[in-house]
Symmetry: C2
Subunit: 328 residues, 2 copies
Amino acid sequence: MSSRDAVLAVLREAGERWVSGEELSRSLGVSRTAVWKLMEGLRAAGYQLEALPRQGYRLVGSPDAVTPAEITPGLATRSFGRQIEYRESVGSTNDLAKQLARAGAPEGLLVIADEQTAGKGRLGRAWTTPRGSALAMSLVLRPALPPVQAPRVTLVAAVAVAEAVRAVTGLPVGIKWPNDLQVAGRKVCGILTEMEAEIDRVAFVVCGMGLNVNLPRESLPEAFRSSATSLMAELGASVGRAPLVQAMLARFEEAYDELLSGRFAAVLERWRALSITLGQPVRVLSVTGEAAVEGLAVDVDEEGALLVRESASGVLRRVFAGEVTLRG
Amino acid sequence: MSSRDAVLAVLREAGERWVSGEELSRSLGVSRTAVWKLMEGLRAAGYQLEALPRQGYRLVGSPDAVTPAEITPGLATRSFGRQIEYRESVGSTNDLAKQLARAGAPEGLLVIADEQTAGKGRLGRAWTTPRGSALAMSLVLRPALPPVQAPRVTLVAAVAVAEAVRAVTGLPVGIKWPNDLQVAGRKVCGILTEMEAEIDRVAFVVCGMGLNVNLPRESLPEAFRSSATSLMAELGASVGRAPLVQAMLARFEEAYDELLSGRFAAVLERWRALSITLGQPVRVLSVTGEAAVEGLAVDVDEEGALLVRESASGVLRRVFAGEVTLRG
């Protein structure tokens, strides 16, 4: 733990109680001057501190940061996010997570950044994460699954993030196959899962989650205003990012445990309940060169494929990859 | 092309005809002294040259090398092996191929080494490739397939290598599921396929092939003499490595084209014909933590899974990953 995180821990522990400079100096094992400098650093980072002569310090407000200092204290997980690689700014959290995974990073490592300058969406698309108002995070997983079952991780992630956002904000978040989260028909979150694998076993999976949190509607690029939104735009109020991260990690770990202990069917049932695609007439543009499929989206199967009953032929088609348009 | 490769090309083109030093000097645009040095270099690399005053040079023998100079001239492919990354010695051709693929290497790039010092087999096992007597090669592929269909590439590779080795040597090579090639019950070749992928599209596949070619039986580690063999040990004669590589690449490209143009079923039919696993009582040890499966291997499906009819229950099980023991 850094000295700054240690000061924060002491102040949080104290709650309403004043903590004297002397007490801080003693418990951290640093000089009074060092304590004073740490306090200035905290203020500069957006923490609100009260200070009174002869009384000491009190923490009265925290910035909306996604630093380990903000995430770790309220984290109720066993391994997800127990190790955090935080960056103020990063090209792509997925790329950094893949690098760390190749170098041996353990399951549960969270890469999180306040700003992402070269974020990636599915199919190589760009995904912007402006500083301070969105979530860009990637989790390293090492599931003992054959690659053919790896898409289950994406389904699990979509369920977990949707449920977490619903729990924290009350917004009616739905899942658009395969892995977009929408509110009222507009995208609020994208999930990009990547893996490295031998043909019969996964080496690692990196699950990247990008969430528009506190972007005002007018700050969304005009081209996306009809198709994208943010939690704040829908809610009319800002949302603390660290509590969101904590809720997402807790739900994700719980659903992932279900997957690995053979209870994936129950998670899939929750996916179906959250889906806005099933039961709808859809058109799916293939990303692997096959012809577009038009018909009724009837189900998703255990390998993450969308089952579409073709209108023209009545044939049931399994779609592994593609871009869905709802035709309502 | 290096100057050495250029000299070789001229000498090969000439065949039985003598090529004068002056002619070589002119066609390569180098000095007579440089020609002489190139000839010395070729001799040092194992090429047999005849030289006669006033006549010139004639190539009468080539070393059993796997350099581009040996592979390229007889190569009948469109893209497989058209670009070659050759190393005298390398840790693992798969690791180098993955690095190059991440950096943008095109489909068909062949990484090949005369010696592999840290070769990998399936399931993280070591695979030794002694200098000069084996094949260690990896091919970069970029199939437009969802990851769920990537195992098809392994099946295609196994069929291609088995057919190529049969064509070149006449040995009755068979495929042991998922991807070992055997002669008379002993392993002669292993295939290690790795991939990087988004959850719904493959970024690249690296297909590594390790083949025991000219290892005398007594040079095989004693622990493996009952389970492994080499082409030379079975054939009683050495086999040229470059012609083998050429045949493997040609068959692989042809079968890969079939896969990508929707004719995978035909390749799978050839896999079944070459299989030594189907129709046998087997025991499959899982590599992903599930219980062992015992029963009759009845088929392989389009996702590369082995279908085993369990003796105890009569239930048909799909096995994606595992270690098969034939129980005959």
